[in-house]
């Protein structure tokens, strides 16, 4: 297929790549081409096979069928090391760096320049400088990594890849934990790298990023190649329709109730002059009425999660009052918050939301155990099972049975289990922190509908989201935070991307 008459062979090429895992066909005859100095974005729902493809390219896994061609000759990687030697580096979603070592030491981890058998620190730092410059990082090589922000750590990871002589960088969701500003910084670096002749394979859920960055987009669906978009054709709608295999309306739009909440009724949740320990300089005040859906928008690090943690009693506020249904409550632990009628769907589903190795029924009833128990002590397993079954039916949780361990459910269904746990408690206020993170589009929409129906039943909903589309499409009212402070409150037609970003970056405040 490669002969001398064709223009120079593409940098990296995959032909008919297939990979099966027990029970899953992860990749099916996928072709991929990556040119020189090109940014190729790969998009697709969760489970579409993006990660598998990426792992094959980086030598983490080998394909069951198909071939990899590098600069016109076929290659077979048996490990990540070989791929690295061939100039392909993988940058993981979670960084693979040692936080307790210096930036320079991280760059050359395992390849340290030595002198008399000992690490030559002077040379180490000297040699790391050009690579740091290449990614536009102006930190001393001797700085300990943990002193850098997450965004800068990401750049260190990229510099590390460059230092191995990488010609192909594979980035897996690089912006998932970066702030907007850090992400923009990363984009600049990607453009710089492209100018230097490095090719980038960019995997992201954030389609807006892909629109800005990519020269070419490859869409994957169910382990197969589902279309390619080039240049002007790269639009949000075009990508989404190929990802889900049908044309979709642009985004979920909440059907807002015609009547506004009764202005005289006491708000369900009243927060006044609350001082969150992480941001002691600012006071936060707001109110939420029953049936209202309010979102907390802002950049990562704006203090939204910290605020929710305070409201749920995970951390203690330094000052201020919280009233639930008119009654002042003092929250010393989540227990108190639950007793006051609140529930929290935390950001870290596996670490905080679920006991991941417990079955569905035990997770669903974990908060509700003592209420069902005889004399508050003796567990009635029949009742547990009933609760689980009714939750599975009500939320349409896809699980083989109520005794399935939640680890084996998909992200969306895991999140439904977390929500089911709170619905059992019938809370007045439901707090959700990034409720749709890491969930694919179909399941996202189900979660939105669920949140909407809860609000319609009179629950007050406060949710944090970093996806502007979600904030705009879903909320009755938007509270925008910037560095620990609520800088703006948007209602109705004022809820626009521009307005939110203006308040979120601190450019404007009320």
């Amino acid at each position: 297929m490669i002969d001398s008459t064709t223009p120079p062979a593409p940098l990296l090429q995959g032909v008919g790549l297939s990979k099966r895992f027990p029970g899953v066909r992860a990749l099916h005859r996928v072709d991929l081409t990556l040119g020189h100095a090109e940014v190729l974005a790969i998009v697709g729902e969760n489970g579409a096979g993006k990660s598998t493809l990426m792992k094959i390219l980086a030598g983490v896994q080998s394909p069951d069928e198909g071939e990899l061609w590098l600069r016109g000759s076929t290659v077979e990687f048996t490990g990540i090391r070989e791929a690295m030697d061939a100039g392909i580096s993988l940058i993981h979603q979670e960084l693979n760096l040692a936080e307790n070592l210096s930036v320079a030491a991280n760059l050359f981890l395992g390849r340290e320049p030595r002198r008399f058998g000992l690490i030559d620190h002077r040379r180490l730092e000297q040699e790391s400088r050009p690579f740091l410059e290449a990614v536009g990082l102006s930190v001393e090589p001797a700085t300990r990594l943990e002193e850098l922000t997450l965004g800068k750590q990401q750049l260190v990871e990229i510099a590390k890849a460059l230092s191995t002589g990488a010609k192909v960088l594979i980035m897996d969701e690089p912006t998932s934990s970066l702030s907007q500003r850090e992400a923009e910084r990363l984009f600049e670096v990607v453009f710089d790298l492209k100018a230097q002749g490095v090719s980038v394979v960019y995997i992201s859920h954030r389609l807006a990023e892909v629109e800005t960055l990519a020269d070419r987009v490859m869409v994957m669906r169910d382990g197969e190649h589902a279309g390619e978009l080039v240049g002007e054709k790269i639009t949000h709608d075009a990508m989404v329709s190929r990802m889900v295999g049908r044309d979709v309306t642009r985004f979920f739009q909440r059907t807002r109730s015609a009547e506004l909440p009764d202005a005289n009724a006491t708000p369900i949740l009243q927060v006044k002059d609350l001082v969150v320990p992480e941001h002691p300089k600012h006071r936060v005040s707001f109110e939420i009425s029953s049936g209202e859906m309010v979102s907390l928008a802002g950049l990562v690090g704006a203090g939204r999660t910290e605020l929710l943690r305070c409201l749920f009693g995970v951390s203690m506020p330094l000052a201020g009052t919280i009233r639930v249904a008119g009654e002042s409550v003092r929250l010393k632990s989540p227990n108190d918050a639950i007793a006051a009628g609140m529930g929290l769907v935390p950001e870290d589903r596996k670490g905080q939301g679920l006991v991941i190795d417990f079955p569905v029924d035990e997770n669903v009833s974990l908060s509700h155990l003592s209420e069902d128990a005889v004399a508050g002590c003796w567990v009635r397993s029949g009742v547990l099972k009933q609760h689980a079954l009714s939750s599975i039916e009500r939320l349409r949780i896809k699980t083989p049975s109520e005794s399935q361990v939640v680890r084996y459910l998909s992200g969306g269904n895991q999140q439904k289990v977390v929500i089911a746990k709170w619905l059992l408690m019938n809370p007045k206020v439901l707090l959700l922190d990034e409720p749709t993170r890491g969930i694919d589009i179909g399941a996202k929409e189900e979660i939105y509908r669920l949140m909407e129906s809860l609000a319609a039943q009179g629950m007050a909903i406060l949710f944090v989201s970093s996806e502007l589309e979600e904030v705009i499409g879903l909320s009755d009212r938007v509270l925008v935070m910037h560095e620990g402070e609520i800088t703006g409150q948007l209602v109705g037609e004022h809820v626009t991307e521009q307005n939110i970003m203006a308040y979120a970056t601190g450019a404007e405040r009320e």
């Binding site: 027990p22 066909r25 989540p334 670490g351 006991v355 190795d357 035990e362 974990l366 128990a373």
Partner: protein
Amino acid sequence: MNKILGIFGLLLFVCLFTAVMSDSFIGEFNLFNVARRSALFGILSIGVAFVIITGGIDLSIGSVVGLVACLLPMLVVDSGLSPPLAILLVLFVAGGIGLLHGLLITRLDLQPFVVTLCGLLFYRGFSRWLADDATLGFGQEFDGLRLLAIGKPFSWATLIGSAGAVLLCYGLWRAFRQGERASASDQLTARLNRWSPAGIGTLLLLVGSSRFWFGWESTPGVVLWQMAGYQARGLAAVVPESSTTVPGKLMLYLGAGMLAPLLILFLRWAWQQNATRVRWPMIGSLLSLVALGGCLWTLVPAFRESVASDRYRVGLVEMSGDSLRLLALSVCFVVVAATIGSLGWLVSAASKSSERSRALVPLLVTAAVFSLMGLSNLPATMVPTPMVLLIAVAVAASVFLNHTVYGRYLLALGRNEEAARYSGINTKRMTVLAYVLCALAAGLGGVLFSLESNAVQPSSFGNFYELYAIAAAVLGGCSLRGGEGNVLGVVIGAAVMRVLRNAINLLGISTKLEFSIIGLVILAGVIVDVVVRRIAERKRLEQRDTGADEAVPEATAP
């Protein structure tokens, strides 16, 4: 469940091996002592299991045992406190220690290892100072109190009978409540599943009560009276040890009589369903049984009769008695291990290939255990009082862990403390509770150990007990990562530890090697556990893979 069966298999192996190599193992005196020591350590192990389930560790158990064991004689003998009051007081002290540990760990966020390590050192030093390093005891005046640790309230036959009665009631209740299991494929399997608990209960009841029906004071009219008198004498610990051999004989005949037909049915059903699957396990079992027979015929007598200093001719080789004994010991060890292993393999393979065979497993195991126990003197042996206490503690602990809200909370917080906290569980209070329970168990153990030995040396009493307890808990299926563990496994784990120690003594292995051997066995147990789990996981994946073609659409759906 598999883990419990595994550790039970290990116990069976150690017992069988020791019994084959030494006559004294199944003697009444030895069985009684092993049972008593197992029970005492079982209580400690259950306590530490709670802490391990929360993901913590308690290293202070041995020192708490030592402290309590010193305090009790001091209070009872020196201060003249009434024994019940003194016991309550020392338990209170132990509970306080646990509370202190728990509070330090949860409120100050100290590491359990560090806190309890300091406890280990502090209580040891404190007890030595308190007792001034003098040996403490209860003398002769408190023999009534000491019965708590060395008493013999009733025989194993009575215990077996009572267990049978309980099982029978449960079995009948279950059979009538559930009716025929809808899931079973044919009627016979359904019936077996439905009636086997009640059947086994009946057998146990029959054996337990047999001394009233056959032989030994056989006038039915005075049975109740005799039972009462028997128990009364039991409390006073004056019952003659060789009371009756009837239950043992009956167990042997019943067990052996049932074993052969059951085994044939079991294998036949499995063979009909999936011959290839059971072929190798069957061959392996047969070979190992033949080898076992060979050992019993040649090596065991050689081991028992050889004298260390003499020289013997084995085939062409001449060797010293010492080497001969070592050779016999090692070969028998391997052969018994192979026998137990291959039989376990056979049972597992057969029960996996046929549902009917699986339904037969409980009866089969009962028959096998019956015949083995019938060969020993266990049914005629007395039950030590600590065993009764252990059973009470174990039942309470098991109910607590599996059927109460707090038990669920402990398991949940052991798996994922943060998620438990976010679900509104007061994780700190639950963690404190675990340490209190552990220290209370150690306190109870201390009381019993003190009463049992009657000579407490503050400098060494209870040394290393925490390690025995932790090892038993780990053997019994607790993960040091937390969130995993069951009481029955832990109790069996403690028994394994004691039987192992007993075996080392009985077989004339140098006691200097004791720790090494125990360490090796635990390591082997843990390794086998990991390996078996990996194999099972791989098999599960393979099975999913072979059935994957139809499952693809669902598997890839969100």
